[in-house]
């Protein structure tokens, strides 16, 4: 069934984005710069892991090969993960984590707003539930981008550096290939028209308030959506998959 193969791929991408970013954010737990922020980061991680669970479970159903969310999360090879390169980038300092999350939240909010209109009931329901969380994340990360950008000279320089380093990964947020066009043609996903423009608007207005400068270098670094990753993903998977690989076929 074509529809299921394409929708599987589409849902898998989103599931992988949530999974890998949720994992990255979870690395902060217990090490945050302020106790309150430790709690806030963990909340975001929990939301993302929750989304990953819903999305990957659904992907498993669509695939119809008996793989559940855990099998997809823990038992694939690196080339089979379809997440954005942005989300697998290392945490760096708190500012880099926030900038990465901000870029992602702005994209995710716009994506979920559109996917609520999907004719696929399950996808629409997941988008609806996830949108509420994502709006909250975006508010939180926007506030921090502004605080750090317009805080001290040190914080300004640090977060500007993170912005510069991460910018090249943002083009991939708008990746689309034949999977997207077939789902659109079949009326399963709505048009994503204007998503990139809306994203640019959100991002530039926050960055302006934060007194930060958008890099003029527009070099694009893509590959995650087709399973070609940076060196960071392999290490992340080695850690994340450790138990499932070392003790196969057991219940935990």
């Amino acid at each position: 069934m074509e529809k299921n193969t394409d929708l599987f791929e589409y849902v898998l991408r989103m599931g992988d984005d949530s999974l890998i970013l949720g994992h990255r954010i979870s690395e902060w737990c217990g090490h945050g710069p302020i106790l309150e922020e430790d709690i806030a980061l963990t909340n975001m991680s929990l939301d993302l892991i929750g989304q990953a669970t819903n999305l990957l479970e659904y992907a498993g159903e669509l695939e119809g090969k008996g793989r559940d969310g855990d099998a997809l999360a823990f038992l694939r090879y690196d080339r089979e993960y379809k997440n954005l390169l942005l989300v697998e980038q290392t945490n760096g300092d708190f500012g880099k984590t926030i900038m990465r999350q901000f870029f992602f939240d702005a994209y995710r909010k716009l994506l979920f707003e559109r996917l609520i209109k999907s004719t696929d009931i399950q996808l629409s329901a997941i988008a609806d539930k996830s949108l509420k969380e994502t709006k909250y994340h975006l508010k939180h990360t926007s506030e921090w981008v502004i605080r750090l950008g317009d805080g001290t000279e040190e914080s300004h320089n640090r977060i500007q550096e993170s912005l510069d380093a991460l910018w090249k990964y943002t083009a991939e947020l708008f990746f689309a290939n034949e999977v997207d066009s077939k789902l659109l043609a079949a009326g399963i996903i709505p048009s994503m028209e204007g998503l990139q423009e809306d994203w640019n608007e959100i991002v530039s207005s926050v960055l302006e308030e934060a007194t930060l400068t958008i890099p003029t270098n527009n070099w694009k670094q893509e590959g995650g959506r087709i399973g070609r990753h940076t060196e960071h993903l392999g290490l992340l998977l080695a850690e994340m998959q450790y138990m499932q690989r070392a003790y196969p076929n057991m219940k935990w």
Binding site: C29, G30, H31, L148, Y242
Partner: protein
Amino acid sequence: MKEVTISELERRFQEKIDNDIKIEPKDWMPEEYRQTLIRQISQHAHSEIVGMLPEGNWITRAPNLRRKAVLLAKVQDEAGHGLYLYSAVETLGADREATIDDLHTGKAKYSSIFNYPTTSWADMGTIGWLVDGAAIMNQVPICRCSYGPYARAMVRVCKEESFHQRQGFEIISLLAQGTPEQKAMAQDSLNRFWWPSLMMFGPNDAESKHTAQSMKWKIKRSTNDELRQLFIDVTVPQAEMIGLTIPDKDLKFNEETGHYESGPINWDEFWEVVKGNGPCNKERVDARKKAKDEGAWVREAAMAYAEKRKERSAIRA
């Protein structure tokens, strides 16, 4: 207004305590009572925060999505406990940051159990089952502590701790009934954590220098040995139920008293760990210091930004 002598204030204070009337932040209290509470509550707060580390160690290696979420939520709860408790310390006039600095310099202590390493996934079960389990036994009596803010914080904390205890027991039961590898992992974990868990109740009553005064002030409501005995009596049958062996060859049930009698605790080990010679003391404190040092620029930025906003709105007004 008539001058009231200190001894009269002390008499009224003790009378309130004897009548189970809570002491509130604005009430008069003896300086020693205040200091004892600051020491005890901040030690408790530090334990919650340092306690995030051994379990945090397994978040990125949790075996499935559900366990990952549950563990994250659990460690986050501990952060929340730390927050309420730091707030309770502040009601006594202590400064949160200064209190945390005492942890970093080694002046303030935290529960020694967190100086033991978590080397397997089974430790996530054992810690919930035994460590949160022991924490509950220590903390339930504190819900009736004479100091209001501490007692109230404990009511909320204890509800969450019992949730943690059940989740931990669920993890360890599953392993104990799982494959031979899982069973071995569970038993090894119990072997490592059993004795340190018994030490969580503190030195024997005869050795405990604070107990008598704290009992009189109703800061402490049961002695270390009473609580330890309660813990043993509850936990040993649980271990038997899931087929694990308590690593104590002298352990026996006394039909007459209805209590389990355990072998001797290695108090030398306990005092060494308290002094800083446990397997992970340095790692734990270093991790907390690192979080604070590396977060300094973030806190400074937040303050600078808040200041700028205040100035800007003052100009606009």
